[in-house]
Amino acid sequence: MTILPELERDLYAAAQRHLPARRSIRGGGLRTTAAGLSVTFALAVAVAIAAVAVVALGHRSHPSRPRPTAAPPAQASARAGLIRDFGILRAPARNLNLSPLLTSAYYRAPASAYHPAPARRPGPNPARPGRNGVPPGPNAGHPGPNAARPGRGAHPKPNPARPPAAQGRFFLRFQAPRSWLRRWGYPALDRRLIRAVPLPAWKATVFVLPTGFQPSSGSGERSEGLNLFVSSGRAAVGTGPRPATAGSVLAHGLSLTVPLTRAMTRVAVLVPNGVARIALARFRPVSSAVRAPWFAGGAPWVPARVDAALAGLTAAAQVRHNLAALEILAPTVTMPAGSSTSGGQLVGFRFAATADETWLDAAGHVVRRTTTAIDLRVRFSTSPR
């Protein structure tokens, strides 16, 4: 009997999702060799039978016979689905979308390079870091159309002369340990679909990032979906690198708590088309009590009940470009006197909370009710002795 059976269940589920793919790689050795041999043998037998049949029946291959049309790649259909469900992705791209800062900050890695190896093009591109952080040489590769490079055309236009693979998708490989990449796969930003929404009130910009994970040697999993990234002069936070699936965002939205100010919690929420307003209510702390942070220096701390502080807390915001910018005033939690050495001046502590989220359409009708998790800011005050 474990103390935290929910954690055991969650770990088991996570292990089921992530371990089998790895174990098939780790299995290696004799098993893999044996499997490979049996597949090769079966293939050889099939080819031999087919050859005998062709000779016996006197059939000849017909080179001019039209081949069946290949099914559209899964990526393309996922992309079309995203464009259909999130109107912001239909807006024209801007130079801001293509900032190299965006990709580096988003992946929390200062140097990034493109993957797979791009077509060669003469002349260095100083705006783009080289592969593995090495500055690009005189013949450094160029990853794709001009529109996707910083400082060039504001509106990306497909170039029919280029093959489709090079036209639309840009793959980004970031500076992470090789073992990490092998295990998890390669993150790939669909850079031509990145859209930026300025939020003047926050002095920030929200980026909607269609992202996928390409399979690697250690992970057969391919995921496609969306990430959010918020950049301002003071903060740069994102939900990535692993994206939320389109289905998840359609059902629950995609929230990102933005640590821009201590006086309130700011949350950017991405929702699909048709949602005009979002309302949050019934905030609950994930734990029944919170403690003041250890970095404040006062120990021991007396746990402060936050349930009362959260009662009646609500927030609402209009949706613009599929994004709602919610602001929640930091509730004040009263701590017993003497429990804090900061004299009640302590602000900026955050804790995990959940809230009921309601989506409303333009007519005010409820479209969906869901629950969201928020990293809620809280203020502490000290009660009189």
Partner: protein, 185 residues
Amino acid sequence: MTRAKAKTDEALLTGTHAGPRGFAAFYRRYERTLLGFFVRATGSPELAADLTAETFARALESVTTFDPARGRADQWLFGIARNVLGDSRRRGRVDAAARARMGMPTLVLDDHAADIIARLGAQQGPVTEALAALPPEQQQAIEARVLSERDYPEIASELQCSEALVRQRVSRGLRALRTRLAGER
């Protein structure tokens, strides 16, 4: 005793028994130990539960890199635990990145579980007892340097003594601990 329980920790992580069941068995073995470690370090059952969840999530993330030839599984797990604790102390909040990457939901802790975890913190192990038996200045220095992983200059400033003296106290304290624990065996 289940079949998985009879296996070594290393077999659960890397051997033929590795996989979701093996990792779950590994979790069951070390849940209490880790919760106790964290609750003693933080004094908070809620934080201890969060830190334990993050530690196991990180362990699951990197289980394929675990190599029994480089050390025991419990040492590997506690290495991760110390990193999680250090990261969380530096940032002022419990990191949840690994759990997010693994798609694990936020852990909800009920009062009953919190009570059990709090009691784990009150239990004294042989190391805790040996530590308590040390002179207060050595105890303080070891707690600050070894358990909290703070820098020597910072500890010296807090204790209002020289850095060399702190190093000496840590060194002598650890030697005394080793002697005492070896004697108990």
